[in-house]
């Protein structure tokens, strides 16, 4: 299977260099080839596992608790202004 690495990098929001596109492309092709061995197994009717220890409907009591102060959260951000995360203009 041939991967369109430019498209995937765009989906992943990573700007790859020409060199990275080439080396990753080759390496990922090898890795995907290794993964194709799974096709040897017949898995029709097998339920997929997403968690090894099945837990369902985890609820907690609906109690009022204090939340983390906004300032503390904003302080880990590289740019903030007036109580918000600051990013480049989105809407013209």
């Amino acid at each position: 299977m041939k991967m369109d690495i430019e498209k995937v990098a765009r989906l992943a929001r990573i700007n790859l260099s020409e060199e990275e596109k080439k080396t990753f492309g080759n390496q990922l092709e090898q890795i995907l080839l290794h993964m194709e061995q799974l096709n040897r197994l017949d898995t029709s009717g097998v339920e997929p596992t997403s968690h090894a220890i099945p837990v369902v409907n985890v609820f907690r009591e609906d109690e009022v608790r204090s939340s983390t102060p906004r300032e503390k959260i904003l302080n880990t951000s590289p740019a903030q202004e007036e109580g918000h995360f600051k990013v480049p203009r989105i809407i013209e």
Binding site: M1, M3, I5, V8, A9, R10, L11, A12, R13, I14, N15, L16, S17, E20, F24, Q27, L28, Q30, I31, H34, M35, Q37, L38, N39, L41, T43, V46, E47, P48, T49, S50, H51, A52, I53, V55, V58, R60, T68, K72, I73, N75, T76, S77, P78, A79, F85, V87, P88, R89, I90
Partner: protein
């Protein structure tokens, strides 16, 4: 005996008898770090001021005549993947440089409450992706047994620091072998608990359905003590399981008479190092002589483990690591004109090669048209692998295998060949996929003098029997008492 060489249980006795103070112990460890750290490079950051403050608090308590707990006043190291309030946490990545969490991981909170002293944050593969710690965004950690070799990964800093006596014990994390493989490479004890045994709250996520926190220690008794210190249900982690934490020390019995041990033939793979095979066979013989019943078993889907794991873990990683976008944490690129470019440049400059490779792979296997062929297929084979273990554990109580197919390899040896690097995880990965506990402990040395690890796997939440078998083996051998040649 010098202080830095002691174990948790030995130090606890000395502290309780007032033969040494927590401050003296902490000083001894920082002195040791100053002597060997230039060669090993296990720590990303030392937190001396805070450590001495913690030590003085313990000493005051002892002076007041109060009893102290087993972990009180014990200086340990922390893998830099665990959030520590007010202390930079990088996860080995430049993208988190300067990130100072405003909260403690539950594991950190529990250990703080028990009076444990934190010496500093330990090196790791970036976002725990790697088997050699060479993927760290900051530095290469070296194996104390041979400085030309890798310490294993991703908790390589943690295992190397324990082996070089730069901390009494350490906390690591294990997604596909990241505690056990470095423990094996560095000749120390490492345990990945059952999924759900230890809270993941505040553990920076790589693959959430596989990640688990666990102890790296100098012997099995310490492993039991530290496991008890971090285990337990946490309402902040909805995947943590509400099952009572037993007294793990009660399983430290030197007796395995009648215990049924399974040896899976699929784990003795082609290309396995001769010295590893010999040491592990010797260990199995010793367990048999100690009264265990050895049975040959089969885990038929083992050969598919690497393929399943690298589909699932990269898929989960591509989703988990989407949060590093230059908005909320740490690093943001200076080169952008619009929002999209800010994201993609920040991620291009902040992530290292392996992380990018895995995000690309994970994005691909989840993308439209490929989801069924990769992610769904891998999740189904994961079910088959879980079934393998369920059936095996109807016959036996624990399963014994090598931890890794080879001893520590050389720095640089596999760095350009990711598939070869991935294949070195083949013996540890199935445990994470099945969610069961497994421990690695030293069982010999290669002809070149490198440690070899024995892996003991148990049933879900049966860390106790794993510890009992490990303890019996350890108490019949002296591999754990050997020290690396570093001075």
């Amino acid at each position: 005996m010098t202080i830095h060489e002691l174990t948790i249980h030995q130090l606890h006795d000395l502290l309780a008898k007032k033969e040494v103070t927590a401050r003296e112990v902490t000083e001894a460890l920082y002195n040791r770090i100053r002597v060997v750290e230039g060669q090993v490079q296990a720590y990303l950051m030392l937190t001396e001021e805070e450590a001495y403050r913690q030590a003085d608090a313990v000493d005051q308590k002892i002076r007041r005549g109060e009893a102290i707990g087993e972990l009180e006043g014990i200086p340990i190291g922390l893998k830099d993947i665990l959030c520590t309030e007010g202390i930079q946490t990088t996860c080995g990545s430049k993208i988190l440089k300067g990130y100072i969490p405003f909260y403690d991981a539950t594991v950190i909170k529990k250990l703080k409450e028990k009076g444990t002293i934190f010496l500093g944050k330990l090196n790791m593969d970036e976002f725990a992706m790697g088997s050699s710690t060479e993927n760290s965004g900051f530095q290469i950690t070296r194996n104390p047994w041979d400085l030309k070799c890798i310490p294993g990964g991703s908790s390589g800093g943690s295992a190397a620091a324990v082996a070089a006596d730069e901390c009494i014990a350490a906390v690591g994390t294990d997604t596909g072998g990241s505690i056990r493989q470095p423990a094996s490479c560095c000749g120390v004890v490492g345990l990945k608990p059952t999924y759900g045994r230890v809270s993941r709250y505040g553990l920076i996520a790589f693959a959430s359905s596989l990640d688990q926190v666990g102890p790296i220690t100098k012997d099995v008794e310490d492993c039991a003590i530290l496991l008890g210190g971090i285990s337990g249900f946490d309402p902040m982690d909805s995947t943590s399981v509400n099952i009572e934490v037993p007294d793990y020390k009660s399983f430290l019995i030197k007796n395995i008479k009648g215990i049924r041990i399974g040896i899976p033939k699929e784990y003795f793979i082609e290309g396995m190092d001769e010295d590893v095979e010999k040491s592990v066979q010797g260990a199995i013989d010793l367990l048999s002589q100690s009264g265990a019943e050895i049975r040959s078993i089969s885990l038929p889907h083992t050969p598919y483990a690497v393929a399943v794991y690298y589909i699932l873990c990269t898929a989960e990683a591509s989703s988990n690591l989407a949060r590093y976008d230059g908005v909320k944490y740490g690093f943001r690129s200076n080169h952008y004109d619009d929002l999209l470019e800010m994201y993609s440049r920040t991620r291009a400059e902040g992530f290292g090669k392996e992380v990018k490779r895995r995000i690309i792979l994970g994005t691909y296997v989840l993308s439209a048209g490929y989801y069924d062929a990769y992610y769904r297929k891998a999740s189904q084979v994961r079910t088959l692998m879980r079934e393998d273990f369920r059936k095996a554990f109807e016959e036996v109580e624990v399963i014994v295998t090598p931890t890794a197919p080879t001893p520590a390899f050389q720095i640089g040896e596999k760095v350009e060949d990711p598939l070869q690097m991935y294949l070195s995880d083949i013996l540890t990965i199935p445990v994470n996929l099945a969610g069961i506990p497994a421990l690695s402990l030293p069982c010999g040395f290669s002809r070149k003098g490198l440690p070899i690890g024995l892996q003991i796997m148990g049933k879900h939440f049966d860390e106790g029997t794993v510890l009992r078998v490990a303890y019996t083996f350890e108490q019949s051998t002296d591999y754990h008492l050997k020290k690396p040649p570093i001075t």
